[in-house]
């Protein structure tokens, strides 16, 4: 039985390698992880961008650079043009009576107040305050972009494997080879398992690669693999259900897009929604995977929590499978 399952898988793998599909899908998470790693150093926590004139006192520019990113321009009009662009940047120009702060009006946050405080502080440097203000930290170096970016890549990467399943089924349907399994010496469940295996193996490889590229080498890989296997299960079920009803790649790809929505909603909702709104995402298995991966990356995960989240993923996946069971069965006939 195992030999037959492996031969179905290796046939798909060989076919995928021949037209480079498997290669691309294997490379994709690694490439995305490298892009994310390249982006991370340029991402700052909340700071401000300030545009100043080249003629501004050099000491003042150095002073501002200790608080913000400073860009210099040769005249006021250039500063105003720069402020008008899409990103958030404030203008700061010396006047006879003090300073002029120029903003566009649609900036996020309290940039103007911060600039006022920073500029005024320069005049108060010698002022003795009755309080001492200190800033310290608890030594946690992981930036939120890296934390959530890695999580997004892992959860999103779980569909990569199911894309191979989906396309290989559509290809078989187009070349009428799918019906051949009815007369081949292989049970239908062996065929399904064989076809589905790549849908588990590829996300696991992608996840481990992503985590290593991003420097998460100290995390618990056992918990990670369990979570990825669970989340791959839902992708594989959806991959099968779309594949068996699609007669050509257009429908398959458009159907695959449907899966992007719950993934995006789960990850971005998990990041941005306040705790009291998180219950809105409990229906999504991707949300539970997001939570597991988050705790694994933060190294706060324990087996009880991971098993509980995995249990939710399996239950929700079983529900989806129950809904789609007849459709898959019928499609394979």
């Amino acid at each position: 039985m195992l030999r037959r399952i492996l031969s179905v898988m290796s046939r798909d793998f060989k076919s995928g390698i021949r037209d480079f599909m498997v290669v691309y899908i294997l490379i994709a998470p690694f490439l995305l992880a490298f892009i994310l790693r390249a982006l991370i150093p340029s991402v700052s926590s909340t700071t401000i961008n300030i545009a100043v004139l080249e003629t501004m006192d050099q000491d003042m520019i150095s002073y501002l650079e200790s608080y913000s990113y400073v860009e210099t321009f040769s005249n006021r009009d250039q500063i105003i043009d720069r402020i008008g662009k899409t990103d958030d940047i404030y203008g700061l120009i010396r006047t006879d009576t003090g300073y002029e702060v120029i903003n566009q009006g649609n900036e996020a946050g309290e940039g103007i107040e911060l600039i006022k405080y920073i500029v005024n502080a320069r005049g108060n440097e010698t002022t003795q305050l009755p309080v001492i203000v200190k800033v310290s930290d608890i030594g946690w170096q992981l930036s939120p972009l890296k934390q959530y970016g890695a999580n997004f890549l892992i959860v999103f990467g779980s569909v990569f494997g199911s894309m191979i399943i989906l396309l290989s089924i559509v290809e078989e349907k187009m070349s009428n080879t799918l019906s051949a399994i009815n007369v081949a010496p292989i049970a239908k469940f062996e065929f399904v398992i064989g076809k589905g295996l790549l849908g588990f193996i590829i996300p696991v490889i992608g996840t481990i690669g992503t985590l290593i590229i991003l420097g998460f080498t100290q995390i618990n890989f056992g918990m990670t693999i369990l979570t990825v296997l669970c989340i791959s299960l839902i992708s594989v079920v959806i991959g099968f259900s779309i594949g068996v009803v699609s007669t050509e790649p257009i429908g398959a790809i458009a159907g695959m897009k449907m899966i992007f929505l719950p993934i995006m909603a789960s990850v971005f909702g998990g990041i941005f929604l306040a705790d009291k709104w998180q219950f809105l995402l409990y229906w999504s298995p991707f949300y539970w995977a997001f939570r597991s991966i988050d705790s694994i990356i933060l190294q706060t995960a324990n087996w009880n929590g991971i098993l509980l989240n995995s249990f939710f993923i399996i239950i929700l996946t079983s529900f989806v499978f129950f809904l789609l069971k007849n459709r898959i069965k019928h499609g394979l006939n």
Partner: protein
């Protein structure tokens, strides 16, 4: 005339396909999620853990000030160790430890550790200046000039629409057009084309037209329900048409380097994920590295946002549309050149 015939024929065939309705169904689901799941505005409260080791009078004063002014979630903890432990459990939180040392009150802001030095300097300086202003009065000699008075800020829900329009409507063709072309190739329709008076560019343009119609239906459906009459539909149409054609032309150009759908799909999928990165700068405009500004999705998202405003920057919208119009022509010519050599082989 032949072009129109091609387009109408493709439209007729597409309107019978499952895909055409799936795309519209997908838009309906997005609308439902926006209306019933996404709140109008997200509450973005900061979690603050506070440890106070001060006398009762100062304790009361601090608590009074916090109670009056703060909209953040403040949790009082018993000790510095408890503060650090609580922060370790919640990595998006900050801490504040207030205690007495050498007859002075120390305000120790405790961060996680990933924050930049510039950010730490901002916190220290702004708090010190706030104290100085409190004691010696505000010595402000700064004038604020706002270039666009009364500028409108979109709700969080509406603010998501440009991202959906960019990724799901403008770049819809990126994926789908390759499927159309390779399906025709596998079914032998392309070979039949070689013996008709149709030229390659007419065939390709016909396919782009189908995706444009699909994009227009999805885009207008989304805008009509979510934004209603508030948006300027002339600006919207110009932007939607040019960017949608750009997405299809880019899809054609990329797929012209491959001979099957499966080979092209990996790269097309990667391109769409990379384009989605522009959403990070869209939501946090102070973070806009050059690498993201070069992505075509970046100006498209901001141009769609302008369309939603009461006083849009018309220059920006039309310059974006013009830029993508020109890019579409260049990509289309290049794709046509490549497909003429490869598609009928």
């Amino acid at each position: 005339m032949r072009l129109l015939y091609n387009f109408l024929k493709d439209m007729r065939l597409s309107s019978k396909s499952f895909y055409f309705y799936l795309e519209i169904g997908f838009t309906v689901i997005i609308i439902a999620v926006l209306l019933f799941v996404v709140p109008e505005n997200f509450e973005n409260n900061l979690s603050i853990y506070l440890h106070l080791d001060v006398d009762d009078a100062l304790y009361g004063e601090i608590m009074g000030t916090l109670g009056d002014n703060s909209t953040d979630e403040i949790t009082i903890v018993d000790s510095r160790e408890a503060l650090e432990e609580a922060m370790s459990e919640n990595r998006s939180s900050v801490g504040l430890s207030i205690y007495r040392e050498n007859n002075q009150t120390v305000y120790n802001f405790v961060l996680q550790g990933y924050e930049e030095e510039k950010f730490k300097n901002i916190i220290k300086t702004t708090v010190e200046t706030a104290f100085a202003n409190e004691m010696f009065g505000d010595t402000d000699n700064i004038t604020v000039i706002t270039l666009n008075q009364g500028v409108e800020k979109l709700s969080d829900r509406i603010n998501m629409i440009p991202i959906i329009l960019t990724m799901n409507v403008s770049f819809m063709g990126l994926f789908i057009i390759a499927s159309y072309i390779f399906l025709d190739k596998e079914e032998g329709t392309i070979r039949a084309l070689a013996v008709t008076p149709n030229r390659m560019w007419e065939y390709l343009l016909g396919k782009m037209g189908v995706l444009l119609v699909s994009g227009i239906i999805s885009g207008f459906l989304l805008m009509a329900i979510m934004v209603g009459s508030k948006a300027n539909y002339l600006h919207f149409s110009v932007l939607l048409i040019t960017t949608s054609l750009f997405g299809s032309a880019l899809g054609l150009f990329v797929s012209s380097f491959f001979d099957t759908m499966t080979k092209a799909m990996g790269w097309l999928f990667m391109i769409i994920i990379i384009f989605a990165l522009a959403a990070t700068s869209y939501f946090s405009p102070s973070f806009s590295p050059m690498i993201i500004k070069f992505l075509p999705s970046y100006p498209i998202m901001f141009a769609f946002r302008e369309v939603l405003l009461n006083n849009p920057d018309i220059n920006y919208i039309y310059m974006t549309a013009l830029g993508f119009g020109v890019a579409t022509i260049v990509l289309f010519i290049a794709a046509n050149y490549r497909f003429r050599k490869t598609l009928t082989i």
